[in-house]
């Protein structure tokens, strides 16, 4: 197919974006392109600038320099109609504590003047139908997160911004939110996700950027990045007899592995690609959770 150009629809474009609070530079020359239907993850420790970038992209904050566009429109020029195509879930919920789950969603439905949304169905999808009359203040953190997620997707947005959607949650709730995010991707929604959880990024994201002190230090598909930083190039094998073997990644190792396989001796086999946290450490000397 020589000469064929596949043009991907850019949903989020960021060019040389800078931001500072006084003398403190929090974002430095950010360049990113996020395509339609992609789950993009912005990874970095607390204070790296993740929320600031989301605030700029959603028009809550005006960048000090550079450009960004969401579906071809600068966030500062967004009107109500543009906002209807965007869903936002922030780290601090923004839910009405004294109102029930149902009333919270009903209120946002009324703000959009959209009577076509079946709120009970939405609550059922996020497993909160039983708690529909429960005031938000009586919900657990996981339930609040799910409700905030439901509010973000209530308008069936084209772009979804999720700021640390699973931070501080139990594994079961994390799993439930991951499923909801993947369901959104299936629907064609572009997801911009910030997290400091590398497993979440590896599991969900098509592409990630590692952000450190306001600067992107690495970008790409999680697996590609891990392969890029595989300096050891070794293979770890755990045999059924309990022995652990480490082989150099070369021609001879292939023959050896084949022998182990033919003798049905292998319990597990792993390559030694580093995980994202190790790569981040290598690049910045910092840990994600720091």
């Amino acid at each position: 197919m020589k000469g064929m150009v596949i043009k991907m629809n850019m949903v989020i474009e960021i060019k040389n974006l800078n931001h500072h609070f006084g003398d403190n530079k929090v974002l430095k020359d950010i360049n990113l392109n996020i395509t339609e239907g992609e789950i993009f993850g912005l990874l970095g420790p607390s204070g790296a600038g993740k929320t600031t970038l989301i605030n700029i992209l959603t028009g809550q904050l005006q960048a000090s320099g550079g450009n960004c566009n969401i579906m071809g429109i600068s966030p500062t020029d967004m009107t109500g109609e543009h906002y209807k195509q965007i869903g936002i879930m922030m780290d601090n919920f923004g839910l009405y504590e004294r109102m029930s789950c149902y009333d919270n969603l009903k209120f946002y439905q009324m703000l959009d003047n959209n009577e076509n949304i079946n709120i009970e169905l939405v609550l059922e999808n996020i497993n909160l139908l039983a708690a529909k009359k429960t005031p938000v203040m009586n919900l657990s953190k996981g339930m609040k997160n799910r409700l905030a997620f439901a509010r973000a997707i209530l308008r069936t947005p084209k772009v979804l911004f999720l700021d640390e959607p699973t931070s501080g949650l139990d594994p079961k709730t994390v799993e439930a939110i991951h499923e909801m995010i993947l369901a959104e991707k299936k629907r064609g929604t572009t997801v911009f996700l910030t997290t400091h959880n590398m497993y979440e990024a590896e599991k969900l994201c098509d592409n990630i950027a590692l952000l450190n002190k306001g600067k992107i230090v690495e970008y790409g598909a999680p697996q590609d990045i891990c392969r890029r930083y595989n300096h050891q190039k070794k293979i770890n094998i755990h045999l059924k007899n309990g022995r652990d073997i480490t082989l150099e990644h070369n021609k001879e190792c292939g023959v050896q592995i084949q022998t182990y396989f033919s003798n049905d001796e292998i319990e597990t086999i792993h390559s030694t690609e580093p995980n994202l946290e190790t790569i981040f450490m290598e690049l910045t000397g910092r840990r994600f959770e720091a």
Binding site: T58, G59, Q60, L61, Q62, T76, T79, G80, Y83, K84, I86, I88, M90, N92, F93, G94, L95, Y96, E97, R98, M99, D103, F107, Y108, M110, L111, D112, N113, P135, R151
Partner: protein
């Protein structure tokens, strides 16, 4: 966008009617008026004494504190940000809140007026004076609510202001020096109007004082409004 205002009004009814601290503000003075007007009667007591006194306290407290509390809570809990994302304009947000707070306060004022013994045209005049007072008080409360970051800061500003607005007219009845200063406050002027509802006569001095109060409140409100709702730079 009337549906935004309608939605905010609906939300306030659902949300704030469960907020006991706000509810107390709305019903405390009407309730006290009923009790005092029915239970206390002294020989030399001026006509409608308790009714007018509590009415002016109601103006100084209810709409001021509830507006400041509701708006500052929206800021503190980040719900205001979400409303902005839903394209709710500052004016819609404030009109929605004003419609809710002033309507409830006017219901309370009706209770105060009726239990004080006002009827017919006099009751309408009383309600008109109360409406002016609640609007001024709401704008001041809204200015505080939009200017501060959280409810704690709002309370620390509204409490002294509330004391001035609510208690100055009462104190001025007993002290001539206080009266010289209190006449510059809108609640004192409204108290003067209330004390002679049969023939409200706006003197030149009263007119100037009320106009200055209105301009000052509007300026304070507009400054806070512009600062409180702009996108952070």
């Amino acid at each position: 966008m009337t549906y935004h205002i309608k939605a905010i009004l609906w939300k306030q009814l659902k949300d704030t009617l469960k907020n006991k601290a706000i509810l107390i503000q709305f019903i405390m003075f009407p309730l006290m008026t009923i009790i005092m007007e029915k239970s206390i009667s002294l020989p030399d007591m001026p006509e409608h004494f308790f009714g007018n006194l509590f009415a002016v306290m109601y103006i100084g407290m209810a709409s001021l504190t509830s507006a400041a509390a509701i708006i500052s809570e929206e800021k503190e809990k980040n719900t205001l940000r979400v409303l902005q994302m839903c394209n709710v304009h500052a004016a819609e947000f404030l009109i929605g809140n004003a419609a809710y707070i002033i309507s409830i306060c006017m219901l309370g004022s009706l209770v105060i007026g009726c239990s004080t013994g006002y009827t017919g045209i006099t009751l309408l005049k009383f309600l008109l004076v109360m409406l002016v007072g609640h609007i001024c008080s709401f704008l001041l409360g809204a200015a505080i609510g939009t200017a501060v970051k959280n409810q704690m800061s709002a309370t620390s500003i509204t409490v002294p202001l509330m004391i001035v607005l609510a208690f100055l007219p009462m104190l001025s009845m007993f002290n001539e020096t206080i009266k010289k200063f209190s006449k510059f406050v809108f609640s004192e002027q409204l108290f003067v109007f209330m004390n002679d509802l049969s023939e409200i006569c706006i003197t030149f001095e009263s007119g100037i004082i009320m106009a200055c109060n209105a301009v000052l409140i509007l300026v304070i409100f507009l400054i806070a409004y512009q600062r409180g709702f702009k996108i952070s730079k």
